[in-house]
């Protein structure tokens, strides 16, 4: 059912390549920012529109749309900010920062319901997906140009700008930096133990996703923290994080660990 026609949808789309596809879990759950145009079905006082939209900041309850890839049960999602940028007659331009999985089209529909006039989304642009922001994104044309410069003239500069290291996709996660000697064990799926840790970023909570990094800034694995940042720094022994997804191939760093027995 697309009663209002397909809205124009553009913006930030990070595309992970080959071995980097393993970082996708970290991106799918990352916060997003959108700019959208909502069309009100009747003229409404601008102040009233702003008032109603401000009420959407906080928790919203949304049922995934009919055509959707997830189970259609009501989901609780956070709206971090929602700013009306411009009102032009019955068109409302707004910016919204939200948790992953928020349907902006649904926000527009619900605003219309609350106002009593009805509304729909006309245009949507994603301005941020986790660490990726719109000014750093390349158009398809930029990509083709970059690939040509690389393949035909051996000039890597453009392609290195369009494609970012997978570590960029982990920018929003707190990090644990480990010793060279601990890297290969984690690459083999071992959980991270306290002695292997050199430094930790603040903001780690038990159960939260963390990025395990080398001192050169390479991603080793995604892991679930078992302690807070402060506890990890204090820990003398025992596991500090459970390896969930290994990102670095085995054998990049030397094997410094022994198997038991």
């Amino acid at each position: 059912m697309r009663g209002w026609g397909d809205p124009k949808v553009t913006g930030v789309l990070p595309i992970a390549l080959n071995s980097a596809t393993k970082v996708l879990t970290a991106l799918l759950t990352a916060g997003k920012e959108y700019v959208a145009v909502m069309r009100l079905h009747e003229p409404v006082d601008e102040e009233r529109v702003r008032e109603v939209m401000a009420e959407f900041v906080g928790t919203v309850y949304q049922r995934p749309p009919l055509r959707s890839s997830v189970k259609r049960r009501v989901r609780k999602r956070r709206i971090y900010y929602l700013d009306v940028l411009e009102v032009d007659g019955q068109d409302v331009l707004f910016r919204v920062g939200c948790e992953a999985g928020v349907y902006v089209r649904k926000i527009c529909f619900d605003v219309g319901e609350v106002l009593g006039c009805g509304a729909h989304m006309r245009e949507l642009r994603r301005t941020r997906a986790g660490p990726f922001v719109e000014d750093e994104c390349a158009t398809m044309h930029d990509l083709v140009e970059a690939v040509m410069a690389w393949r035909e003239d051996g000039d890597e500069r453009l392609i290195r700008n369009v494609v970012k290291p997978m570590e960029k996709a982990l920018d929003h996660l707190p990090k644990i930096y480990i010793r060279d000697s601990a890297v290969d064990a984690v690459c083999h799926g071992a959980h991270l133990a306290a002695p292997g840790v050199l430094s930790v970023e603040t903001g780690i909570t038990p159960g939260g996703l963390v990025a395990v990094m080398t001192q050169k800034g390479e991603a080793v694995a995604l892991a679930k923290a078992l302690m807070t940042s402060e506890q990890i720094v204090e820990a003398q022994h025992g596991l500090v994080a459970k390896t969930e997804r290994v990102l670095m191939p085995r054998g990049v760093y030397p094997r410094m660990w022994r198997t038991r027995g």
């Binding site: 991106l27 959707s68 989304m121 949507l124 290291p165 960029k168 929003h172 050169k216 390479e218």
Partner: protein
């Protein structure tokens, strides 16, 4: 985004013989472990754009970080 501080537990260097700073990976490795930051044009679906990027770059696998569609 949240500002994070670094808490140091122990000091130790890293051996330059192993691994490499992400930015300095040789181009093939750089792409193997890369994420293309694309500004999706209007019209094609996220899935279609992903398939194009895969073909243009000649990679085996490509996956996008969150559909940009309103079903």
């Amino acid at each position: 985004m949240v500002k994070r501080e670094l808490l140091v537990k122990a000091e130790e260097g890293t051996n330059p013989a192993y691994g490499c700073e992400p930015e300095n990976r040789p181009i093939e490795t750089y792409i193997e472990f890369g994420v293309a930051a694309i500004d999706k044009p209007p019209g094609p679906t996220s899935h279609e754009v992903t398939a194009w990027v895969k073909r243009i770059l000649g990679v085996r696998r490509a996956g996008h970080g969150g559909t940009l569609e309103t079903p």
